[in-house]
């Protein structure tokens, strides 16, 4: 086959241009990715305890991020205060919860979970039978708590205060 010198030269130039541009493209993206790596990263799905242990949470574990005041409950005295820190807090009838509600008949064994995040305290129903309510509205997904929100777990009412 007769391949002219012009064709060969053009192909060589194109090949070099292709490779150079391809590597330029890659280099630019690597550079931006490397920049991201230097920023502090949040963990994947680590338990907050693990994350705190690894020093990934901004707040020290002991700092208070909010509190829950018991308004009315068959299980604990009204006015009892639970402080929320960098650890997640679970509530339910079972004794292995952070806050057990042993005599609340309407609470499930593992009922709800309060989780500290960058932007505040979030509440999540963890498979309760009767549901978790915030200001009377049943939770269908996790939700961020606002100051003054009233949370109902079984027959226990708690007010969230920052």
């Amino acid at each position: 086959m007769l391949a002219s010198a012009q064709v060969e030269t053009t192909l060589l130039v194109l090949k070099l241009a292709f490779l150079v541009l391809l590597y330029l493209f890659i280099w630019r993206i690597v550079r931006s990715a490397a920049r991201d790596l230097r920023l502090p990263q949040e963990s994947m799905i680590l338990a907050p305890q693990q994350a705190a242990a690894a020093g990934l949470l901004a707040q020290p574990a002991g700092r208070e991020l909010g509190r829950l005041v018991v308004l009315d409950s068959p299980a604990v005295d009204g006015g009892t205060v639970y402080t929320l820190d960098a650890h997640a807090l679970t509530m339910g009838r079972g004794s292995n919860n952070d806050v057990p509600l042993p005599t609340d008949e309407y609470a499930s064994t593992r009922h709800a979970r309060f989780e500290p995040r960058r932007d505040g305290i979030w509440i999540e129903d963890i498979g309760s039978t009767n549901g978790t309510f915030v200001n009377g509205i049943r939770l269908t997904r996790e939700r961020k708590l606002a100051p003054g929100d009233v949370v109902r777990i079984g027959e226990t009412d708690l007010r969230f205060e920052p």
Partner: protein
């Protein structure tokens, strides 16, 4: 990070990178075209302009729907798809036309997914069981008499009229959505490994494995197994699950090697592709050297990669046909596209392609890290891991690092279902990324 880097918004940066991809496509096509015609011309420029226009359309939809999403994912996917279609064009113009059409459909569905789910894609979480069951149904479809067809010993295709597709590619994405929803809900219970919670997971996963094993689709089997383990690990953080899974895999693989002739054959081809004496050849029924029979495809692909050397033959100048015009490597544009690219782009170019794959994975994992809620994290991690593992399985197979199992190279290989499914995967990652970046 200087002010200059911040001055471009995410979407503007995306557009700049897409322009680079457009130029790369132009150079690639021109090179193939000039090598084919043996004269310098700009006749192929139309193709590059067409692809650039298509990507700009995708970009505009992204600008409207996911303004805060990662700016590099779309250009990288676009680059891979463009390199793929360039090489497919070089191997055969008619297939490239079809592939181009599939990319158009893929981009259209990508846009549709972004538009439908732009407000809150987490509605998918409520539909997790629908996705789980659909994943199994899709895997079963090729086995329905009258619908399915067998290609190369694996029953993976569905024919409806003249339209055909491989449901397994979509099944993979559905399974990831199901796993993300299910694991998000049950991860705390799963970490304690209670049978009640592990049950449904094992049922869906077991069903997938059974269908895949019975249809001889080993590559997908490996892929599903890996995705399942990885997502379980991300959800629970328990390394013991991964260890148990790996042990099960080794035991299962050992049993399959002993009992299933198809698996045994694959391993033999992998370990001993060349023989000096003639061995039994199942295809012809007579004796032949293994490199002329069972491992013909793999060996020819290795020669193809070796022929590329360091700098490659150049796009359009590789050797893929014998002197009498027969194709050297069967299925070179789907399963073996990597060896075709490695020959024409050389070690330098093939390494660059793998780097693009790695960067895509790195960006995907970053999206998972940034996401706020469990479902989004799991979804992004699952989609990214699936993409990474699929790339490893096929490239590893072609390079003889692991036994070869037929599966497509994401975005690059010829195959409509694969291209469309991967654009949907991209849409998923952009949606998660957009949400993560807008909330913080």
């Amino acid at each position: 990070m200087g002010a200059r880097a911040l001055s471009l918004s995410y979407r503007n940066r995306e557009l700049v990178y897409l322009a680079v991809v457009g130029v790369l496509t132009g150079i690639g096509f021109a090179s193939v075209y000039i090598a084919r015609q043996s004269e310098v011309s700009w006749g192929s420029l139309g193709y590059a302009i067409f692809f650039f226009a298509l990507y700009v359309a995708a970009h505009l939809v992204a600008r409207y729907t996911v303004p805060q999403a990662d700016p590099y994912l779309l250009p990288m996917a676009g680059l891979l798809a463009a390199v793929g279609v360039t090489e497919i064009y070089r191997l055969g113009a008619s297939d490239a036309f079809k592939q181009g059409l599939w990319i158009v459909i893929g981009v259209a569905l990508f846009a549709l997914a972004l538009l439908r789910l732009r407000r809150d894609y987490r509605v998918l979480e409520q539909l997790k069981y629908v996705f789980g069951v659909s994943a199994i149904v899709l895997l079963f479809l090729p086995r329905v008499p009258g619908l399915g067809t067998t290609v190369n010993g694996a029953r993976l295709w569905v024919h409806v009229g003249s339209f055909q597709f491989q449901p397994g590619e979509f099944s993979k994405i559905f399974l990831i959505v199901f796993l993300a929803g299910y694991l998000r809900e049950k991860r705390e219970a799963l970490a304690q490994a209670r049978p009640k919670d592990v049950g449904p997971l094992l049922v869906i996963w077991g069903a997938c494995m059974l269908v895949l094993a019975s249809s001889n689709d080993l590559g997908s089997g490996l892929l599903y197994f890996g995705i399942f383990l990885a997502m379980l690990y991300v959800a629970t953080g328990r390394l013991s699950f991964v260890v148990v899974g790996m042990v099960l895999f080794v035991v299962g693989g050992g049993v399959a090697y002993e009992k299933i002739s198809h698996v045994h054959e694959r391993v033999t081809i992998w370990l001993h592709p060349w023989t000096t004496d003639k061995v039994f050849c199942p295809q012809t029924g007579g004796p032949a050297l293994r490199q002329d029979c069972q491992s013909y495809q793999l060996v020819k692909s290795l020669y193809s990669i070796a022929n590329g050397g360091f700098g490659g033959a150049g796009l359009g100048k590789g050797t893929f046909t014998t002197t009498d015009g027969r194709q050297l490597i069967p299925f070179v544009n789907s399963d073996f596209i990597y060896s075709a690219l490695a020959q024409e782009l050389g070690l330098v170019g093939a390494a660059a392609l793998l780097l693009v794959f790695m960067l895509f994975v790195a960006r995907g994992m970053k999206v998972a890290l940034q996401a706020d809620d469990g479902f989004s994290k799991l979804l992004a991690a699952g989609l990214t891991f699936g993409f990474a593992l699929q790339t490893f399985i096929i490239v590893g197979g072609v390079l003889r690092i692991i036994p070869l199992t037929g599966i497509t190279l994401p975005f690059v290989s010829y195959g409509g279902s694969s291209v469309v499914a991967n654009f949907l995967l991209l849409a998923g990652l952009l949606l998660v990324s957009n949400r993560a970046n807008s909330s913080s």
